[in-house]
Symmetry: C2
Subunit: 439 residues, 2 copies
């Protein structure tokens, strides 16, 4: 092979960060020009602003506006190296990682590889479902939704048409609720203008949640409110119900109901995006067990932060929620702690400061839980938008997202209903392709 990972040697200690998500970026920022050599690896050359993936999938935002090129983000950093690569294996005994472009030694390793879609061991039953964790997946879903209606207009077969116009979302967390609401808005304001020949009374959106409530991580009132809001957006929510299988044509539920649908959107959960090489004893529930300093149990120089890490505390016996907030706070603190290690200072333990959580259902409707106050409706919706807008990385992206939101709000429109790359179901192969970075 002609390629290698090719990082110049340095007298500084080398921190290798796997993953350019919320945690990895915060960590890199905290280490900026502070006396470390920093290497970041990611399979993509951009950071994905995952909270808005659902808006890409539902034609509200262009993909490029929620992606931040990692090299651009980190261009003023000295002794910083980005490599677009996948990590095959961690070899902690040799302080080394093995990647698609060769091996690399580290002084400190930080695993910030995030999470991937969790099918709870039922991959086979749901291999035709649409996950929503990466931009290409959001684009595939966008194509699928639009292709469905292009087909619905042309089919003679009533049942076929119904299955094209039914959408099933699994999982009543924020992503599930947000996708369902966005589809509801498409049904109410956008699609009937585009497809005048179709009867949109017949477009149905089902949200399936196994628990007896929505937005389980949030307050009871948020759960109830979101249920009511979704109703107004024409979403049929089925609580306490599980999906059993999806064959690309219909969805089977555990209560015996069968929904003819060609589109099952999987928002039922995520699990750590694990990398081979760490012993089983540090893995629990698909995440890497870490102590209060984000240190992987049993190692001195291997850390994990964000979704992939699980620190058990009294308040969070199952680990912290898999949220951007946690990852960012862990990334910032770990940067400080790595500097303290260098200065032989005592480390600061991680204490999650929960700033609250929120979800939007659609136009003028959101739910917000803060520590001291919970509210919903129009004001919550503005808070949601404001927080997301300031969180998107890069001024250009903020500008473009804001332009789109203004446009969407005042016109009741969704401007990016484009089938740029038609979605074609392919058996497995595709996924692999997507995983392979440049080399």
């Amino acid at each position: 092979m002609n390629y290698s990972i090719h990082i110049p040697s340095s007298t500084k200690k080398r921190v290798v960060i796997i993953g350019g998500g919320f945690g990895g970026i915060r960590l890199a920022k905290g280490l900026k020009n502070k006396g470390f050599q920093v290497v970041m690896l990611d399979r993509h050359n951009y950071h994905t602003f995952q909270p808005l993936l659902y808006q890409v999938a539902t034609a509200g935002l262009e993909p490029d506006s929620i992606a931040g090129p990692l090299r651009k983000l980190l261009k003023h950093y000295k002794d910083f190296y980005f490599r677009m690569a996948l990590v095959n294996r961690i070899v902690p005994e040799e302080n080394m990682i093995d990647t698609t472009i060769g091996q690399l030694k580290y002084d400190y390793l930080v695993i910030a590889a995030g999470s991937k879609t969790n099918y709870f061991g039922q991959e086979k039953n749901f291999e035709k479902a649409f996950p929503l964790k990466q931009i290409p997946q959001a684009l595939d879903l966008r194509s699928q939704i639009l292709q469905n209606f292009e087909k619905a207009i042309m089919t003679h077969d009533k049942e076929e048409r119904q299955s094209l116009m039914n959408f099933v979302i699994v999982g009543g967390g924020p992503t599930g609720v947000e996708v369902a609401g966005a589809l509801g808005e498409l049904k109410m304001h956008v699609l009937p203008n585009d497809y005048k020949e179709l009867d949109f009374e017949k477009m149905s959106i089902y949200l399936i949640e196994a628990m007896p409530r929505l937005l389980n991580g949030m307050s009871d009132s948020a759960g109830e409110k979101s249920y009511d809001f979704l109703k107004r957006f024409n979403v049929t929510t089925k609580l306490g119900t599980m999906v059993k299988a999806f064959d690309g044509k219909s969805v089977q539920l555990d209560d015996g109901m069968v929904i003819p649908s060609q589109t099952l959107i999987w928002a039922a959960g995520v699990t750590g995006n694990l990398i081979d090489g760490l012993p089983d004893k540090v893995i629990a529930n698909g995440r890497i067990m870490v102590d209060e300093f984000s240190k992987v149990n049993g190692y001195d120089n291997v850390f994990a932060i964000g979704d992939i890490a699980m620190q058990q505390t009294e308040s969070y016996p199952k680990g912290h929620p898999m949220l951007a907030q946690v990852a960012m706070q862990q990334g910032s603190l770990l940067a400080k702690n790595l500097l303290r290690i260098n200065k032989d200072k005592a480390l600061i333990p991680f204490n999650y400061s929960d700033k609250g959580s929120m979800a939007t259902i659609g136009r003028n409707k959101a739910v917000v839980d803060l520590k001291s106050v919970k509210f919903s409706g129009l004001f919550a919706w503005f808070v949601w938008m404001f927080i997301h807008l300031i969180s998107i990385i890069g001024f250009r992206n903020k500008l473009v997202v804001f332009s789109n939101w203004l446009w969407n709000y005042f016109t009741y429109d969704r401007g990016t209903r484009l089938i740029i790359r038609p979605f074609v179901r392919k058996p497995k192969k595709k996924k692999q392709e997507e995983k392979v970075p440049v080399a």
Copy 2:
């Protein structure tokens, strides 16, 4: 097959428009609610603003901002039908077209299928070249350019690295000049920040043109100016030179020179995007011969407009230039003439009113030829931007493009340097896939 094209019958005469490009849209607009039933077919569900494709390919604009959803554009039209489909064959004897979703009768047929990349019979020698006629192609090129640098940073092989950093553009028309200039800007302002480890002195951009001048359709001064401007953007222009072959690794020129390069961008020309079924005698030079009413020779109810049509006149013995302007004027006039046919009025012959032409080379540099005045430089550049901005279809797109241009101008940046779908060379198959619409 369960699908059909499925247009309700009507007492009105049916105009079938093949293609939602500049010509097709103008025609549809002219026929809006004027007593015809109008059916438009396109392989994409959006209109492509082709003049800015090169900015998508060079990470200056997001793809979605130069695409206008056709259904949205035409949503207030009565008795108007859009179908995402490919036309397999025209059967003029039966007033019928055969499409990927079935057959359709017409009273009037308008072929506005535009143009496709012209390899001048040398498809085999250039099957690894990057054409630039459609959005997915622009995205593939964007991925390729960025992947090249990600690879260049990781290769040990000096020659390999050089071939990754060399870019060859064939064709010194507006597209070729614009891509070359944009690559020059990437070299000067953007890429060196991203890839600090590479020596950008070694990035070379070659523009190869068979004629002894650039911008052949424009004035001599525009040709000379653009040559000078390109020099300032570090582009090596080779005039009077032809490319012989490209194997994915190096480009052979007819003067014996071999340029090691993995990226050959084909901007050497276009030819009519012909559809089977018309007799050979109406085809010349890959275009359909039409009279002064855009009527296809030998038929009363078959018309062709835009790039695909060739009307020979004294001023244009080889047909009009294949430009958006011509297509738009022909589309507008044909709408009027179809209304006149309905009223038994005499038809108005087409007279091309050349409003001038222009090309941009890069930051602050463009050339503009108007009838009475020719100018270049900063003012020309503003004129170029203004004209393009007002020509982009849709207010949302104008807003997003304008935001991007402001951003790019003041930051010397290109915000969308994203490898969303990594480009992987595949033998042929892919192209076919892309051609198949939904059904």
